[in-house]
């Protein structure tokens, strides 16, 4: 027996295996905590987009607890500051689920939260951020697809105000861009297209009965002798031919009308091209577009969109790491992308998902005691139901907290987040209200010619976002109080104009909304600031804008107008000519049809046939 065992198993290998097991236990006792700390720092850095550091991490499988101290989440823009610092994070995990490869945390506590605290070392920014999985639509959203809205905002008109004052040598510049006008090119192309239309309509006309055919038909009816046995049949055949030709003319006329309507629509669209071209010329010449009644979108839109992109990034992360129910049958099934292929997780009643944080308590109290340091805040909140498989857990994730950071002058923060991926669609809701928040150096325009923006203000407001699968609805209302502006411009007129507009605006409200499907979002935003700026600038620079419009019109629009009129005239005359020809042919055929019908009737009543050319003689003869 022993020999047989020796033949199959290398008994002496048990010794190195024993050594390996000892080394493994030693690793868990001595190095596991450090390794886990490093790994969490790496993952958190990738998630955050700036360095995350942990001072110490202690695990204990005996007491089933983990304690993490000194978490510093680096700031993306101010590398010497933390976005947030957490003094202590501790949680209790369940041991038995670990044997089922599940991490269940039933109680997590976060205390000692600081905002924008100083860092010992500058936070590094990771150069590569990769997550498993195929990029989703939200990936593209998060990676800058709000470009559509950014394009619609056009450029900030404040940037080019100086152009209105320097004298632009517009005549020459306009002539330079003439060749690139799309309306001129379209009109030239349409001329060529018109020759094709002319041939098409000509062919339509030729496909119907020609005058020569009508005359020949008339003669052939006359030459049919009534004494011949099949004269009636021949006349009926000719009548059928005439009716067939009448139908052809009717069809050709309808086709002509339809083609006319289509081409007329194309010609009408030229007007839009002209308007686009005028806009393009103004862009090329860097002329500020002051035709809108509200410039809020142009001034504040880009900054707002930055916040939206950040929010969308986090929503995308939630969707990838907390996937929805695939709904194949009665069991909930969740699919997660993996490095190669995918992983499926199957639900069972009263079973845990792979990761669950059932409840977390956030508690922090600001203190004026020495040694606490700056940035501490009062935070009170809960996190319920954070899991990687919401469909298996069955409850949505809910995050609620209130916060005040008196030293940072941030008060009355209320956040409520609900992430519901328990069903077959993704639904996320976010409501944030802030009682007061300091605004520092919010730029409206920052160029070499003009620097203007809010130097300081106090803001308060409400932000609501609702994501539903591929639909988005975001509303915000932000009040700005005690607004102080900074303004510096190379041009005195710009300086005094903006000073005059901004001085009375010590408070205003920005309202906004982004809504629609994710690949076709619409931004609407308004504020007293935007309206006053639009009105004030239009009033101040109306003369300069009128002069520019005149030049553009003189050089471009009039030329395009005359070309357009010529094309329209040619098109109309072509249509009229063809319609007239078809109508004439129709009239002749109708008269011939009546005459041949009379002939057929005469044959059937066995009367003397009447020549189509001698009816008058017959009438005279009858009267006699």
């Amino acid at each position: 027996m022993k020999e047989k065992l020796h033949k199959v198993i290398r008994i002496w290998m048990l010794i190195p295996l024993g050594i390996f097991a000892t080394v493994l236990i030693g690793y868990f006792l001595l190095f596991f905590d450090f390794h886990l700390k490093v790994r969490i720092e790496q993952l958190a850095t990738l998630l955050n987009g700036a360095e995350v550091n942990i001072r110490s991490l202690k695990t204990s499988f005996v007491t089933q607890t983990v304690q993490i101290q000194g978490i510093q989440v680096g700031h993306h823009v101010q590398p010497d500051r933390n976005l947030v610092e957490i003094e202590n994070l501790s949680f209790h995990f369940m041991l038995k689920p670990l044997f089922r490869k599940k991490l269940i945390i039933d109680n997590l506590s976060i205390t000692g939260i600081k905002l924008e605290s100083r860092r010992g070392e500058v936070a590094k920014i990771p150069t590569q951020i990769e997550f498993a999985g195929v990029p989703s639509l939200l990936d593209r959203v998060a990676s800058g697809f709000y470009g559509q809205i950014r394009r619609e905002l056009r450029s900030n008109p404040l940037k080019y105000l100086g152009q209105l004052l320097v004298g632009l040598d517009l005549d020459q510049k306009v002539l330079n861009v003439q060749g690139r006008l799309s309306s001129v090119k379209e009109l030239r192309n349409y001329r060529q297209h018109l020759s094709g239309i002319a041939k098409e309509w000509e062919a339509l006309r030729r496909s119907t009965a020609s005058p020569a055919w009508i005359n020949q038909t008339r003669l052939s009816v006359d030459t049919i002798s009534p004494s011949t046995p099949d004269s009636r049949k021949q006349t009926e055949t000719i009548l059928q031919d005439i009716r067939l030709e009448q139908e052809k003319i009717l069809a050709a006329t309808q086709k002509l009308h339809a083609s006319y309507a289509t081409e007329l629509q194309k010609i009408t669209n030229f007007q839009k091209s002209i308007v686009d071209d005028v806009g393009m010329i103004k862009d090329q010449l860097q002329i500020p577009k002051l035709d809108k009644t509200d410039l809020t979108g142009e001034i504040a839109g880009p900054e707002l969109l930055n916040y939206l992109e950040r929010l969308t990034y986090w929503i995308d992360l939630f969707r990838r790491r907390m996937p929805k129910n695939l709904q194949r049958g009665t069991l909930p099934i969740v699919k997660q992308a993996a490095n190669q292929g995918a992983s499926y997780y199957f639900g069972k009643s009263s079973a845990y998902p792979a990761f669950l944080l059932s409840q977390a308590t956030i508690k922090s109290e600001a203190s004026l005691k020495e040694g606490y340091g700056e940035g501490f805040g009062d935070v009170d909140g809960t996190i319920l139901g954070l899991t990687t498989e919401p469909a298996i857990f069955g409850y949505p994730l809910k995050i609620n907290f209130r916060a005040n950071f008196p030293e940072r002058q941030i008060n009355g923060v209320n956040v409520s987040i609900t992430v519901d991926h328990t069903g077959t669609s993704f639904v996320e809701d976010l409501v944030v209200s802030i009682g007061s928040y300091p605004i520092r150096n919010f730029p409206f325009c920052q160029t070499g010619d003009l620097q203007v923006g809010i130097a300081s203000a106090t803001a308060s407001g409400v932000f609501k976002a609702h994501f539903d699968e591929s639909q988005l609805n975001v509303d915000w209302l932000v009040d700005f109080l005690d607004v102080d502006y900074y303004l510096s411009s190379r041009y005195k007129l710009v300086d005094t104009t903006l000073q005059r507009i901004l001085d009375p605006l010590y408070s205003f409200t920005i309202r906004g909304k982004v809504s629609g499907p994710l690949d076709n979002l619409r931004l609407e935003t308004s504020s007293e600031l935007g309206q006053q700026l639009a009105m004030g600038l239009q009033r101040e620079f109306r003369h300069q804008l009128a002069a520019i419009d005149d030049i553009i019109r003189k050089n471009i629009v009039n030329q395009v107008d005359s070309e357009q009129r010529d094309v329209v005239a040619r098109f109309q005359s072509l249509y009229d000519r063809n319609v007239a020809d078809l109508r004439e042919a129709g009239t002749h055929l109708a008269s011939l049809e009546r005459q041949v019908s009379a002939r057929v009737s005469a044959h059937s009543s066995s009367r003397e046939p009447v020549s189509l050319n001698s009816r008058r003689k017959h009438a005279v003869h009858s009267k006699k």
Binding site: R10, K102, Q340, G341, A342, S343, F346, K348
Partner: protein, 176 residues
Amino acid sequence: MAILRHLFRLFDLVKSETSPVYISAGIVLGMWLGLTSVSTLQWFLLFFTAILVRTNLVALLFSVFLFGVSAEFFYPLFNMMGDRVLLSAARLHPLWAWLYHAPIIPFTRFTDTTVMGSGIFCTLASVPVFLAFYFFLSRRWEYLKAAAVYSQLWAAWTSSRLYQRYMRFNEQKSRS
């Protein structure tokens, strides 16, 4: 000298288990190790099996290398097989649910399409691969041995100093 002794023991290990059964088993075990994902429980079990169970070490290592390198080309096939078995076969969902929530089993990562596909492939291919190599080697064993002995590589090895010292070490061991 101590290092050389360990090295010579390694040579003994390498040239042991040279019969067709051991070589074929080594190839099959290497196939499993090469195609199975490293971060799974079954890979570690296979690894310990490879250490404990007598198989030809050279064949095992060669097979691990060969299948490990070519695993990338098998992934689409594994994904398709895993997807069919895990998702499309709805009757098996209760079984997968039971296994997913059972102890220890989730560490096999069987819910991963690549892992499931590679497991199915290796299970189906084990017997044919073993038999194919076994019969091939059984029939050609003497020829292959003679070809190896008469090869230039073997001639270079046997004329090396290391080999001479190894032979002396073996003589001393047999005398003692």
